[in-house]
Structure formats: C-alpha cells, structure tokens
C-alpha cells in the first residue's frame, strides 16, 4: 500500500533529477525536459497531498491541472526560443551562448 511518504520521495527524486539535469545538460532541449520534470514533481506532490490530507476538497488536484497548462505554455515559448537560436545562429549547445560578460 503506497503511503504519502512514498509519493513524496518519488517527487523529491524527480525534482532532484530535474535540477541536476538543468545544471548539467549542455543541450538546450535537454534543459527544457529537465524543467518539465521539476514541474511534474510538484504535480505529484499536489495530487498526493490532496488525496491524503483532505480528499473532499480538490484544491491540490485543481492546482496540478493549472500547473500542467502553464508547463505547456512555458515549453512552447522555450522551444520557440531554442528553435530561433538554432535557425538563425546554428546553436543548441548553451555553453556557446555566452557573449555577454561583465
């Protein structure tokens, strides 16, 4: 029987994978995928808390629906920026996008 702790550990693992991927990936598309992982780990938390803390009030589940919608919008904008960089300047490796330094 899965308890609340199981879900929280799963989401913590996902969140850490997301943060690690965001910091270590060099490919911009890989970074976008890591960001999705971070959002979805929060979704797991919301749904798990909603089920185990007050199952009658659906705040947590509604919140996760909003987060999914927002994540889709962010992914669309992020991909647009990455595609633009690739088309105009032939870059996907973010280490090469470093023209400004103080």
């Amino acid at each position: 029987m899965a308890t609340l702790e199981h879900y929280l550990i799963l989401s913590a693992i996902l969140f850490c994978i997301g943060v690690f991927g965001l910091l270590s990936r060099r490919n911009a598309v890989g970074i976008l995928m890591s960001i999705e992982l971070m959002f979805n780990s929060a979704n797991i938390n919301f749904v798990a808390f909603s089920k185990f803390i007050n199952p009658d009030i659906l705040t947590g589940q509604i919140f996760s629906v909003f987060v999914i919608a927002i994540a889709a919008a962010e992914a669309a904008v992020g991909l647009a920026i990455v595609v633009l960089l690739y088309r105009n300047f032939d870059i996907v490796n973010i280490d090469k996008i470093n023209f400004m330094k103080w």
């Binding site: 989401s11 919140f63 105009n88 973010i94 470093n98 400004m100």
Partner: protein, 483 residues
Amino acid sequence: MIEIPFINLAVIYPEIAIFTASVIVLLVDLFMKGEKQGTLSTITMLGFAAAAIIASRQWFHFETGFSDALIADNFALVFKLLFCAAGVLTLFLSVHYLNREKIFRGEYFFLILSSTVGMMILASANELITAFLGLEVMSVPLYLLAGYDKKKLLSNEAALKYFLMGAFASGILIYGIAFVYGNLGTTNFDEIYRALQGKTLYGEPLLLLGLGLILIGFSFKTAFVPFHSWVPDVYVGTPTPATAFFSIAPKAAGFAILFRLLFKAFAPMMPDITGILWVLAVLTMFAGNLIAIAQRNIKRMLAYSSIAHAGYILIALTTGTADGAKAAILYLLAYTAMNVGAFGIVILLGREGEKDLSIAGYSGLSRRHPIAAAAMALFMFSLAGIPPTAGFIGKFYIFRGAVSAGFIWLAILGVVNSLISVYYYLRVIVIMYMKPEAESDRVITYPLSLMVAIILAAWGTVQIGIFPNSWLNLVRDSVSGFF
C-alpha cells in the same frame, strides 16, 4: 443539480480591459494592411487608459471575487495604476526606438499588454493558485519580449537566459507551494493565516521547506542577490524600451505579491523570517551598488542599479509594518518615474544597432545637447537620492520606517549604500558636464513620442520630490484595509 456560484467580475474589470485591447491588437495586426503602428499604439494606449480609469473608480470598493481568489483592495489598485503608467510610458519610449531599429511588429504591443494582465492578477491575488498563474502570465510574454529583436544574437541570448532562469524559479516556487499546501491543507491567503495560528516555522519542517522555496522562487523573479545573476545579461540584450519595462513593472508586481504573502498570509511567521530578509536586503544593496561602480555600459550600470533599488525596497519589506508598505509603494512610484526617464535618455542618445551605450561616450554632452544632459542629470540625481527629487523622498520614508520599526542598523547600511551609489550616478554627470567633448558623429533628433515620455518622467520626478503630500495621501489610502 450543480449550483452555479456567483462570479463577481468587477474584481477583474481592469484585466478585462487590457486583455480586450490585447486581442484587438492581434486581430488588427492580422487583418490591417499598410502602415499600422499608429493604430496599434492607439489601441494599446486606450486599453491602458480604460484600465486605469476603471481601477481608479474602484478605489475604496474592496471587491472580492472568484471564491476569494482575487481581491481588488486599494493595495492591488495602486499597483494596477502603476502598471498602467509603466505601460503607457513604455509605449512612448518604444515608438521611435522600434522605427529606428526597424524591428516594429504588432506582437510587441500584444506582449506588453498580456504581461500587464499577469501583473494585475498577481497584484490582486489572494490565493496561491492565482499568484502562480499571474506570475506565469506575466513572465511568459516577458521572455518573448527579451528575444524580440530576433535577428540579434544578444537579444536571443537574453531571451534564453531569462527563460531558463525564470522557468527554474517557477519550478522551485511551485514545489514550495506544494509543501505549504501539504502542511496547511489550503492555498487561500486568509485561510493560511488562520491555519498558521499557534504554529512555529521551525516546528514544521514541511512549512519551513515550502516557505523557503517560495521565497527563493520570488527572489529569482525580483532579482535579489544571490539570485540576480541573470539580470545584467538580460537587461543588456533586451531592446531598451523593454528593458525599462522589465526594470519597473515586473519588479513592482513581485513586491506586490511578496507584501501580500508576507504581511497577510504568513504574517504569524514574519518574526522568524525577518532575519533572512535582513540578510537578503543587505546583500542585494551592497552587491548591486558595488558592481555597478565597475560598469562601462550604461544599460549594464542601470541593471545593477535596479538590483540595488530592489534592495532598498527590501528594507521596507523587512520592517513588516504599515509604514514600510507605504514607503515601498512611494518608492516604487518614484522609481518608475526616474528609471523611465533615465532609459528614455539612453534611447535618445543611442543609435541604430544599439550603439553609443558606453558611459564614456557621454563626455562633453552638455555643450552640444544641453537639454538631454540636464534631463539625464535630473534622473541621475534622483536615482542617487539627492533632494529635492523623488528618489530622496522615497529613500527618506524607507529609512524612517526602518528606524521607527527598530531596524537601526539596516537604515544605517541603507544610507551607506546610498552614498556608494552617489559615486557612480554622479560620475555620469561629471562626464557629461566636465569632460572635454568626445569625437563623435552623434546626431540627436528629438522625436515627439520620446520627448513626451521623458517630460512625463521628469514631471513625476520633480512632483514627487517637491510636493510629496498628495502622493503621501495616495499611499496612505492604498494600504487602508490591508492592515
């Protein structure tokens, strides 16, 4: 039978006005042929004007709606008016610039309008769901605005950096909100306040983790040190009028939600987090001001100066009193006027392709362009906080609020930072007035729209500085019902 709840649309009338204008802008841009910049900017202007009129008519109405998820008290309304003012001023800054850089497209106005809708939702959010939604509706158009000059590499770099940092911050924020929800079982600010009674922050690990992650998320968005690293690159790469917008409106929106979150929802936890805010404020002020000294590019200098100004407002947040909130609103109003003015002069003196942005290039400006130099001097004095300008009044009330709330050291460090900042602001004036004229083929035209923006900004800077009474009344009214 499902009962349909009563929906009080009055609470989002300003948002509806702006959203309608944004949709009309998109449709007109799609179907209209030929020269359309004039039409589109007029529609945008009318949208902002309508929203501002509606917001000022709702003064003291205290509308709430959507199951208390949104609230239009005076505190929210004053921020809505500020966003409208920032939007209109940005519009005046943009018209000439977009023509000069030959990058005009209709989406520009749509992006500014739709991100303003997000800021307004954020300012009136009374629920973590609406706060998160407002934050994202605000941020996503801003990422695109940063990359608006899409043929230029720097603009693309700015968009990517802003997007990655913003999305990372959103991920942290939403994870934190999940923990707060898990601990308290609610996301409504009033219910959070009630649920927190009798709890201590350090006795509830989930709550501590959640609130910490929420603070980190918002610190990224409002660029507190050490979460500021994206700011200078984004501000330099972004088209200059959009940079002016970035440095004012999203920052004000971030502070609006931080005030509501910390003064209302998490008010019982405020004594526990004051120490963290204290450290953030001091770090933000010192890092912003000290790094700004080393800058050679005027946009980069203004970027670091905007970080430092966020630090001053953070002092007001740390005090946790009504006086602090009032001082912060006054400071944001003053900052809007003087920063729009400074960026307006930067646009006026720049040339196609974002050239002529080095501070050294301003040498001897006073001889050939005395009006531009005098206006720049006014805005620099105000940013440095020298009387009788708006910047002085804003800083005065922030420091006075800190002293009367017992944060003597914070006020002293704030004054020390103001003195540091005088160095790099006055350097611009010294270069303009006392250095020999630089060899430059700079030709300045004075386009009408840009002059309107600069004159309005100068009027605001002087008006708040010399006749602060009416502004103080406005600010006093705007926190009524909030405490």
